[in-house]
């Protein structure tokens, strides 16, 4: 069995005078929680829309479960579900009817009531099954969207900014749900986000896209290895602190930035480094571990903020 369940090759979309996405080459393995990271307007949604056949690519191809999307659309999408941007529904119908409609499009027949209710139960909406969706909050709609995605037991779920507009509790619930889908049901999750900590907390592999182009792709652990053990030091006088840290055996990569002094120090040597600074008569205000993914992201995208 092919372990790569989603592969895009030179995927691109051109609008009038600009490329919304260009040369996107993704590889998503079975079982991945794949983070698709990029600033707003980077081309994440365009790429996802092309993968889910909402947008016709200008260049390249998409393969899902070994089937070419352009040539075998129905086979390619048979085991795929997704939520693009925000989940929208037939607001004048109940959650139950919305589930039935979505299910019938995948199955070719109306899904049975028991299965629909069980799936609504998973996302905690069983009691509101017969209520019209127009009475639902944004968080409930998000959960209903996930229920629709889960209804037909997909092997790959594509979630485009799934926590957008949710409160912290809602975001946490979605993150936990994603992890449960991956660990308990073995579902591969493709997750796009501009929120770094969201991806860092759940993703096993990731890709970064910026200005329509893919910058990097790989396992989260491997990609962050290069940036491991970085700390931000606030100490004065800065010159003296830099020279002291540079002279230390277990400290490397000492640079001065607008934020403060950045240095690479293994956690076990951090107390010794602080002691050295104090002994050198430096005032040490703080030593903070750098948010490694954020550092990596900023380095790759060259953006001031994601």
């Amino acid at each position: 069995m092919n372990d790569i369940i989603l592969r895009t090759t030179n995927l691109g979309k051109h609008y009038k005078n600009r490329w919304a996405a260009q040369d996107i080459n993704l590889e998503v393995h079975r079982g991945d929680v794949f983070g698709f990271l990029g600033p707003n307007g980077a081309g994440k949604s365009t790429s996802i829309r092309m993968i889910l056949s909402l947008i016709k690519p200008t260049t390249g191809s998409v393969q899902l479960f070994g089937h070419d999307l352009a040539a075998e659309r129905e086979k390619a999408l048979m085991n795929v579900a997704g939520i693009v941007e925000k989940p929208d529904f037939y607001l004048y119908l109940s959650a139950f009817r919305n589930m039935q409609i979505a299910g019938s499009l995948t199955l070719g027949r109306t899904p049975d009531k028991k299965k629909v209710m069980e799936t609504l139960q998973v996302v905690g909406l069983a009691e509101r099954a017969l209520d019209k969706v127009k009475t639902f909050s944004h968080g409930m709609k998000q959960r209903l969207g996930i229920a629709q995605a889960l209804l037909c037991d997909p092997q790959l779920i594509m979630l485009d900014e799934p926590t957008n507009g949710l409160d912290p509790q809602g975001m946490k619930e979605v993150r936990e749900l994603i992890l449960r889908l991956s660990t308990e049901r073995g579902i591969t999750v493709f997750l796009s986000s501009h929120l770094l900590n969201e991806v860092e907390q759940v993703a096993t592999r990731m890709a970064i896209i910026n200005k329509g182009k893919m910058i990097v792709q790989g396992s989260v652990a491997d990609l962050l290895k290069a940036n491991a053990n970085k700390v931000l030091v606030h100490a004065e006088p800065v010159k003296k602190a830099v020279s002291t840290l540079t002279a230390m055996k277990n400290v490397s990569g000492v640079t001065v930035t607008e934020e403060g002094i950045i240095a690479r120090i293994e956690p076990k040597f951090a107390p010794a480094a602080v002691k050295g600074l104090v002994e050198a008569k430096c005032k040490v205000f703080s030593v903070q571990p750098r948010h490694s993914l954020e550092e990596y992201f900023l380095e790759k995208t060259g953006a001031s903020e994601p």
Binding site: I55, K56, L77, Y92, L105, G108
Partner: protein, 280 residues
């Protein structure tokens, strides 16, 4: 496919706007009949005043059949807007609501989804005409009773259709009316694929109809050659069913031209829809 069509019908008939046409007809027809009940005697006397000087006319000539015919003549300008109200919302409504992002990522082809929507639109169109037919004939017969129908045939002059054959004549007339309204539904459906708001298709459909009607009835020689090819020229083909004998050549030509328009609008919609990027 049956499953898709049944869900499209469910969605169509679950919307409020679908019933606006039925409510409008359900209110308007009884009002027209009430007015006819009060004023109708004078109306029919006026219509028959020349005949009465030459012939002895007996029986109930102001009957339910006459009322149904008058209503059909009168309503035919308004029914297209009621059809456009629903047909024009079929694709643009989903684009506006964002539900294409829900349906078009599923493993079912866009062609099948579009065809299911189109068939649901045609079924709605037929159901509205059938509702008009049932209300016109049922209420008309109940209030005004039955009798022969006096119809005006441009070739034969005044034609009297015997009561015993009228049901078949009217059923055929409504069948032809459904066929002609399919063109309006197809036009609105096509425009619905072009725009992403609910009101646009209605306005554009009615504008196109108005322009075509103006050309159809314009007494100008330079447009005479194109008139036979305009669908509006053939929209009143149902009137041919109230002739005796019927002119089958005219009916055949009209049915073919109307069918060609419906098929063309459907094909154009399919062409657009299959290539449409869903950006909303």
């Amino acid at each position: 496919m049956f499953n898709l069509i049944s869900w499209e019908l469910f969605k169509t008939y679950a919307k409020w706007r679908t019933y606006i046409g039925f409510i409008a007809v359900g209110v308007l027809l009884p009002v027209i009949m009430w007015i006819m009940w009060i004023e109708g005697g004078k109306f029919i006397q006026y219509q028959l005043r020349t005949l009465q000087s030459e012939f002895l006319i007996t029986g109930n000539l102001f009957n339910g059949w006459v009322i149904a015919q008058i209503i059909m003549n009168g309503l035919w300008v308004h029914v297209p807007s009621l059809i456009a109200l629903v047909a024009g919302d079929q694709l643009s409504g989903e684009a506006t609501a964002g539900t294409f992002r829900l349906t078009l990522i599923r493993p079912v082809s866009r062609t099948r989804i579009l065809n299911a929507k189109y068939i649901a639109t045609l079924i709605y169109t037929a159901s509205l005409v059938i509702f008009i037919a049932a209300l016109s004939l049922g209420l008309g017969q109940w209030i005004f009773g039955t009798g022969d129908l006096i119809a005006v045939d441009p070739r034969e002059g005044i034609v009297i259709l015997a009561e015993e054959n009228l049901l078949m004549h009217f059923l055929f007339a409504y069948l032809l009316a459904i066929w002609s309204m399919f063109v309006v539904a197809s036009l609105a459906f096509f425009i619905s694929a072009l725009v992403e708001n609910a009101i646009g298709p209605i306005i554009i459909t009615m504008t196109v109809l108005a322009i075509f009607y103006v050309i159809t009835f314009l007494p100008v020689e330079s447009v005479e050659d194109i008139k036979p090819w305009l669908f509006t020229t053939h929209m009143n083909v149902w009137q041919q069913a109230l002739r005796d004998p019927m002119d089958w050549d005219i009916i055949r030509d009209s049915v073919l031209i109307l069918g060609a328009y419906s098929a063309s609008f459907w094909a154009a919609t399919l062409f657009l829809f299959r290539r449409k990027d869903i950006l909303s």
